[in-house]
Structure formats: C-alpha cells, structure tokens
C-alpha cells in the first residue's frame, strides 16, 4: 500500500516530479549502442550514472550489460573531460578491444560543454584509435527528453557516423525498429525474411541482451547490426522507420545524408499497425505477402472473434513510451475496449496527442511530457477506475493499491521475464498480447465470479 499517500484531487504541481514516468537519455543511448555488433557503449561523465544505467539494463534484461565510463572527478568537472575521454578511448581499445565505441554524454559532460567530435578527432590524431576501429558519439543531456530521446539520438549517430552512399543502390530495405525489445527486433527481421525481403535492421539488440547461456562470459555476444550493414544502409532503396519518437530522426537524417527515401509508421503492435507494416514492406519491395504470414494473421483474427465479448466495454489505462502507446491504443480500440487514459513522461508533442485522439476518440485523456508522472497517472485512475492497466514494473504499486490487473509493457520490467524472448510486435506479438489481455480479464472474472456463474468453458 505504498501509494496510499496519493490523494484523489489533482492539484497543480509546478516544480516537482513524483515517481517519474521516464528515465534519462543515456540509458536509451546505451541500449541502442548495444545493438551494434562488437560495440562497447561508453558513458562520458561520472561513474555513478554509468553504474545506474548498467544496473537498470541488467535488471531489465537479466543479461550482463557492459559499458565503460570516463570516471569524472572534480578535476574533470572543472577543466573539462577531454583528458578523461582520450585516456578512456586508449584504455578501452587496449583492454577490451571492441570494433567500435559508442560514446554518450551525461548531464555533467553536457553542462561542462565538452565538444565530443573535437575530442574524438584529437584521440584519432594522437593515434589512440587503432586502424579499422571506430568511435561514434551522441549528445544525450537528460534535462531534455527521456530514455526514448537518447535511443533516437544514438540511432541517428549511427547514421551520422557510419552510413554511406556509394552511388550504387542495393536491393535492400532499412528497418529502424524503434525502442523495442530484442525479441521484437528479431520478429521484424523474421517477417521481412518471410516476405523474401533483404533488410538492414539497426540498432539490433537481439542476441546481445538476450544472449543464450553457453557457459562462457562474452564481452561481445554474437548479435547486433554489423558496421558494414549500417554503412550499407546509405545504399538501400528505402527506409521504414517505426515509431515517430524513437526512429524518425535517424530516418530523416539518412534521407538528408544519403538520399534514402523513408516512411515513418507506427510500431507494428496489434493488428492494424502490423497490417500497415506488412503492407508497406510489400509495396516498397514489390513482393506479395506469403501464405505463411496470412495464416498468422488469420489466427489473430480468429482469437479476436472467439473472445470478442470479453473485450467489449472494458476500460483501460496506459502509461509508457509514446510510440508503444499509439499502436497499443489502436489495438485496444480495435478490440472494442475503451481507452480512458494515455500517459507518457516523454515529451511527445501535440502530434502525439492528436494521433491518439484520432485512434481512440475525443474522450480519451492524454497527458505527455513535462511534469507528467506516475503520481498523476495514479490520481487519474482514482478518478475513474479502469479494468486493466498497461505499464512498466513501477505500475505494480498502483495496480496493487487499486486492485486492478496490470499487463507489463515498456521499460523497465524488473520483476518478470519473457519480454526479452517473446515479441509483442507482428502477428505473433499480437497473439501474445491477446493472450495476456485475456488471461488478465478472465482470471479476474473467475476470481470474482459467484459460485453459480463460475464457468468451465468461456
């Protein structure tokens, strides 16, 4: 009953965040960086941030998460972090020997104003970057944006530093998957493969943060998009960016830099959004949708139809990252559920609000960005109690207080497994989501049913 302090009356809070509904940029950047093969993320700032980010990712993925830190001390904070970064680069290549270092800044190095490109150039001039090795960077100050912004910035950095245009087009499509689980990235690759399309997917954390147990400690697990693949993205025929907040910046940059046209779609979560994704792949690659995918789709529709009476009129509240929320809101609406609240701590802008309203109707209350937190989400829930909650692990406090079932989604999930291995994107993902939702609804119905209506067959 941790949150019994939460009052129902919503008052204006100007200066304060209570129970944040987001985390900071570097953690997203670090996650994205892990999606490059043989890459070591590096946090340019003091040790603490890096330790927290690694802990957060370790807890979420239950896999070893490697990253290095510039270990700022007072000196660095006064005189700038150049010496620390140059030394770091030298040490990292000597000791850990990655192919590429992906540097993210922290609040501290941002405020000091370290000029990362200049420092990286200096390291190169000093011979600290061995031939064939690469250092890239993203600016990720946390007083702007959130973990999603950090992910977007590091993905853009990949384009900025790595993608090139040789002048010769390669028959392949870029997929920028958005801030999703490794399982989802793998699913996107599988779908395009199923359709006979060659894709370059980046970042790609599958196989990196959900690596199999093989009895050894790998500094660099097998997965990740290779640098050559990201380089060749500049020669692809088309880019599909999934999720406006996490993927659009990189797609735009790729268009500007290498003239690869793009389309930005919602994350393929749920039936409609997956249809759109598959259809877009079909059109741009000029292929037809294979029977196998149609079977998967048909199975989703089958379950939807079989169980539709249980969805009708159920009220739901969602909190999470903007890109997830858009698609999820649509899926739930497609299922005839009533979306009461959509809340994100990430600044997502008026377009986001409009998009949600377009999908769910004017009644839905949408909150985004500055000053939006879990506390407020809880207050909303006290005002009109939904039947189901969607959100990360922290929402479990609210779920318990209000006795509402919670479906875990987003980042972080510290107290369950599965998200690393089972996708929620694509038709298979839709099926899994459906199962989860039904479990929650039917379990509750069973629990609350009086003896005479306790049913065996539903």
């Amino acid at each position: 009953m941790l949150l019994r302090h939460t009052p129902e009356t919503i008052t204006d809070r100007s200066a304060l965040t209570i129970n944040p509904a987001k985390t900071c940029q570097p953690v997203g950047a670090m996650y994205a960086a892990l999606g490059i093969h043989n890459c070591l993320p590096h946090s340019h700032g003091s040790q603490g941030c890096c330790a927290y980010h690694r802990s957060a990712l370790t807890r979420h993925y239950k896999d070893p998460i490697m990253a290095t830190t510039s270990s700022f001390t007072e000196g660095a904070s006064v005189f700038g972090g150049q010496a620390n970064l140059v030394e770091s680069i030298n040490n990292i290549f000597t000791i850990y020997s990655p192919d590429i270092i992906a540097v993210n800044t922290t609040c501290l190095s941002e405020v000091i104003g370290d000029d990362l490109p200049q420092i990286i150039n200096k390291a190169r001039a000093d011979g600290k970057i061995p031939p064939g090795k690469t250092v890239i960077h993203a600016n990720t100050p946390s007083f702007k944006g959130s973990h999603v912004t950090g992910f977007a910035n590091m993905t853009s950095a990949m384009v900025q530093y790595l993608s090139e245009r040789s002048g010769k087009k390669i028959p392949q499509i870029n997929i920028i998957p958005g801030y999703v689980e490794p399982s989802d990235m793998a699913e996107m690759k599988r779908i395009s493969l199923e359709m006979g399309i060659k894709s370059v997917l980046f970042p790609d954390t599958s196989g990196v943060v959900n690596s199999p147990l093989d009895g050894k400690f790998h500094m660099y697990p097998k997965g990740g998009a290779t640098m050559e693949a990201i380089k060749s993205a500049g020669d692809s025929t088309f880019t599909l960016a999934l999720g406006r907040t996490a993927s659009l910046p990189a797609a735009k940059l790729l268009d500007t830099k290498c003239k690869v046209p793009f389309e930005c779609l919602d994350l393929p979560i749920g039936l409609s959004a997956t249809d759109t994704f598959v259809d877009c792949l079909r059109k741009t690659a000029g292929v037809s949708v294979p029977e196998s995918l149609m079977v998967e789709r048909g199975q989703v529709v089958d379950v939807l139809t079989d169980m539709h009476q249980y969805f009708f009129g159920k009220k739901v509240a969602l909190i999470g990252d903007p890109d997830h929320l858009v698609s999820l809101a649509q899926f739930l609406t497609d299922m005839d559920m009533e979306v009461l609240y959509v809340v994100t701590g990430t600044p997502a802008g008026p377009k986001f609000v409009r998009r949600i309203r377009e999908l769910t109707g004017e009644k839905t209350i949408v909150k985004e960005g500055l000053g939006v937190d879990m506390f407020q989400f809880h207050q909303l829930i006290k005002n009109a109690k939904p039947d189901l909650l969607f959100g990360n692990t922290y929402v479990k406090h609210i779920a318990r207080d209000e006795d509402i079932p919670l479906i875990r989604m987003g980042f972080p999930i510290y107290d369950r497994v599965g998200h690393q291995y089972f996708p929620i994107t694509g038709y298979r993902g839709a099926l899994r989501l459906l199962e989860k939702i039904l479990e929650a609804i039917l379990d509750r119905q069973d629990r609350d049913a009086p003896e005479e209506s306790f049913e065996l067959v539903m």
Binding site: Q47, S142, K216
Partner: protein, 467 residues
C-alpha cells in the same frame, strides 16, 4: 590478455604467491575507460539516508538520478512509507542555465505542505554542484518557514565514490543528532548504526537486544525515524555495523558527546555472537551477560543442525566474493567456512589498506584478493579458480549464471534477511539452493568442466603474480 592485468597488477594479490610482502593498492579512482562496478557519492548518501521513513527525500537534479533510486532498495518500515516515493526536481534546460534554486524552493514547499514530513533531505547531484545552486541557502529558508529540519546533502556524484557519499550522509545525520543532544542518558541503551533493515534485518537485531535487556534508542537508519535519531545521543553505546558507512557518524558522536562505539558485524554465527557479547561486555552487567549467553546458546543450538545438514552437501565447494564494502567480505569468508566452502577469490569496491591486510590474514593460501575489479577480469579469475558460487550484486548475477556458477545476492537489493542467526540459515539455504540446483546439469560450462581438463593457462597466473 595479459595487457588487462598489467595496469591493475598492484590492485590484485594472491596469498602465498611469490609477491613479497607488498600491500594492495586501493582507494584509487577507477581507470578512465574501465567497466567499473562502482557507483557515485549520491548513491552512497541515498542508500544510507533512504530508510528514514518519515523524512522527505528530494533529489535535486535531472530526473535520472531519482528514477534509478526509486524504491530500489527493500528497506522496510514498520510505519510511514514516505521514503519509498521518488521525488525529483526534474531539472530542465532552462534551470540548468538560469539555476534551479527557485524550483527547489517551490518543490520543497509543496512537498512539505502535502506530506508533513518530520524532516527533509535534499540531495544535490552532479549538475547542482556544477551550476552552483546555493542549496544550503534554500534549505535554510524553507526550514525557517516550515519549522522542520531541511538538510542539504552534498552528494554531487563526481566528488568521489560511494564512500564519500557515506560521509556526506553522516554529516547530514549529525545535524539531527545535534538537535536533541545534551540531554541525560538512558541506562543500558544503544543505537544500532549501519543496518538498513533490508528484508527486516533491523527488526531481528533489535529483538536480540530486547532479549538481552538492552534498550535500543534509535536505528540509524533501518526503519529509522527522525525523532529517534534526535534522541540518539542519549544512548550509552553506538554499535556500528558495516564499517564503511557509519563509522564517521559514530566518531562524531564520540567526539561531541563522549559516546563510545563498537564495530560489529551481524553476519554469520561467530560474528553475530561476538557482536552481542561485546555489547554485553561493554555494559558489564551480570543480568545482561546471562541473558546474552542464553540467547546465543539457544539460537546456535536451534540453527546448528540445519547448518550442518547443508555443510554435508557443500563441503569442498569454491566461492568468489565481490561486494561493495570490505567488512561484508570478512564476514562472508567466515560464514562460507562454516559451510565448508573455500573462498577462492575475494574483492570489494571500496576496501582500504587495513581491510585488505585483514583479508589476507583470514583467507587461505592461493586466494586471489582484488580491489575494484571489472567483469572481464572477474570472469577470468572465476574460470581459473573454477568456482561454484559467486556472491555479489545486481550486475554480477548474470555473469555468474552465464559461466555456470551459482549466485547469492549480497547487496542492497536483496529480499532475504541475512543478518543474525536466522539470517545465517537463510544464507545457507540460498547458497545451497543455488549451488545444488539441478539447472546446472544443463549448463554447458558445467558439462565442459565435467568432461574436460581445465583450459585456463597457467601463464596468466604467472604473469599476474610475479613481481
């Protein structure tokens, strides 16, 4: 491979190897560019002060620092739960440029109005140190207006390591102590310092002292309350566990109030018994001594058969220990010995030279002792020593598993009480459950080990330990 080791050679020591009598180099800043497991000053302050349940804890800075420390530590409270909420001033670009004092003032005022806490702690994170907000002045102003102690904690992360954070926390705590200072003392009474009531450990320890006939004036900070801390200078003795975090406060109280202190550990049978006896001896009271003897005897008798049962299964296994504070490491080495488990590798993030000397003393020949290690190195040592168990924190767990080693969590986040006699049983159960789990038969590492000779080359060990 040997390259890794060269730079850090002096921070690693193997007992009995031909290394002469050199000491271990420690208390160094981590190498820039290392995968250090260390945290920051803020982290240190936050973990120490966090369990004070009726105080407000406001993190002044960008949102991340607060987000990562939200309810992450299972310090239980028998009453208020204000400490488990996460309050942040969530600084934005505008404030980074123009200063965050106004926002801090507004946030504090709003929060104190809403929650009526007994005191407020304001944690200044890295950015605050850099942009130069006068946190002190804001706190002073709010304190005058609201009539509760509003205490700034200077925990800018870059100012050092977790250890420096403990110091900042002790200074903050001392301000509360001083408020109630100078009143007449209580007879036969103590303060419990340095236990944070993870999984209810403070309650267990408190119960021991109750049975011994000793009054516990305050618990700093497990299940802590502001008013109790204010009374703490009236106790007869400070009993300090976990040398790193709270000795500073005990020293300050000794200097100011002449209050003596004792360092103890409540981990393992010997250390727990010794802790209770040393308190009893301090008061030199026959009644207390008799009750203590009774308590220890009945508790040891109660748990011993079960411990022996586990020992039978675990005898001869090997363990690696990598924990934050070195004091924890001492107790772990001893506790493992009770189970017949040999410590092959032991290290800490923040040990000092005396700590490592002591470790050298209590460890067996061949044990590798490391300061501020990194995962690559740790995993190599684990492979070389072929350990069955790793005791560490959240970032070490998956490493152990991938390598086919069992794991036991001995960090802030654990959910099982490991203190006291009952805690020793829990520890044995956890170690037993993990080491003996049938899952390992599926782990390629164990399969390899069963069929192949050791693959690790002698060469590295030699390079490492020749001087």
């Amino acid at each position: 491979m040997i390259e890794i080791l060269k730079d850090r050679k002096k921070q690693v020591f193997q007992k009995g190897a031909e290394t002469g009598d050199r000491g271990i180099v420690c208390e160094k800043a981590s190498l820039a560019g290392s995968v250090s497991q260390r945290a920051c000053v803020f982290c240190g302050s936050r973990v120490v002060l966090y369990p004070i349940a009726d105080a407000l804890h406001l993190v002044h800075g960008p949102v991340g620092c607060a987000a990562y420390t939200w309810d992450i530590r299972g310090s239980l409270s028998s009453g208020p739960e204000l400490h488990r909420l996460s309050f942040s001033t969530d600084l934005r670009e505008k404030e980074v440029i123009f200063g965050g004092e106004k926002k801090l003032y507004a946030a504090l005022t709003e929060l104190i109005k809403a929650y009526a806490p007994k005191a407020a702690f304001v944690y200044a994170t890295c950015i605050i140190g850099l942009i130069g907000d006068d946190v002190q002045a804001v706190c002073k102003k709010v304190q005058a207006e609201q009539g509760i102690p509003v205490i700034p904690v200077h925990s800018e992360g870059f100012r050092g390591t977790k250890k420096d954070g403990y110091k900042a926390a002790c200074e903050a705590l001392f301000r509360l102590v001083v408020e109630g200072g100078g009143q007449p003392g209580f007879p036969l009474s103590i303060n419990i310092l340095g236990d944070f009531n993870l999984a209810g450990e403070t309650w267990m320890i408190k119960e021991y002292y109750r049975q011994m006939g000793i009054k516990v004036v305050s618990c700093i900070t497990g299940d802590g309350r502001v008013d109790e801390i204010r009374e703490s200078s009236r106790a007869g003795l400070n009993v300090v566990q976990c040398s790193g975090s709270m000795t500073q406060l005990a020293k300050m109280m000794e200097e100011t109030y002449g209050l003596p202190f004792k360092r103890v550990s409540y981990f393992g049978i010997e250390d727990t018994a010794e802790a209770l006896y040393s308190v009893a001896r301090h008061f030199d009271d026959l009644q207390v001594m008799r009750k203590t003897e009774e308590l220890v005897r009945s508790e040891v008798n109660r748990i011993y058969p079960e411990v022996q049962h586990y020992r039978k299964a675990l005898e001869g296994k090997k363990a690696a220990i990598y924990v934050g504070g070195s004091f924890k490491a001492f107790s772990l080495v001893k506790a493992l010995r009770h189970l017949g488990i040999q410590t092959a590798i032991v290290g800490s993030q923040t040990g000092n030279p005396e700590d490592y000397e002591y470790l050298k003393e209590i460890c067996d020949a061949g044990t590798i002792i490391v300061d501020d290690t990194n995962p690559l190195e740790l995993s190599r040592f684990m492979m070389e020593k072929d350990v069955d168990l790793l005791i560490g924190g959240v970032k070490e767990r998956p490493i152990a598993y991938k390598m086919g080693a069992a794991f036991c969590d001995h960090n802030h986040e654990r959910k099982t009480a490991l203190a006291g006699f009952e805690g020793m049983l829990n520890f044995c159960r956890e170690v037993y459950a993990s080491i003996m789990s049938p899952v390992w038969q599926f782990s390629p590492a164990r399969q390899r080990r069963a069929t192949m000779e050791q693959t690790f080359s002698e060469e590295i060990t030699k390079a490492m330990f020749s001087t």
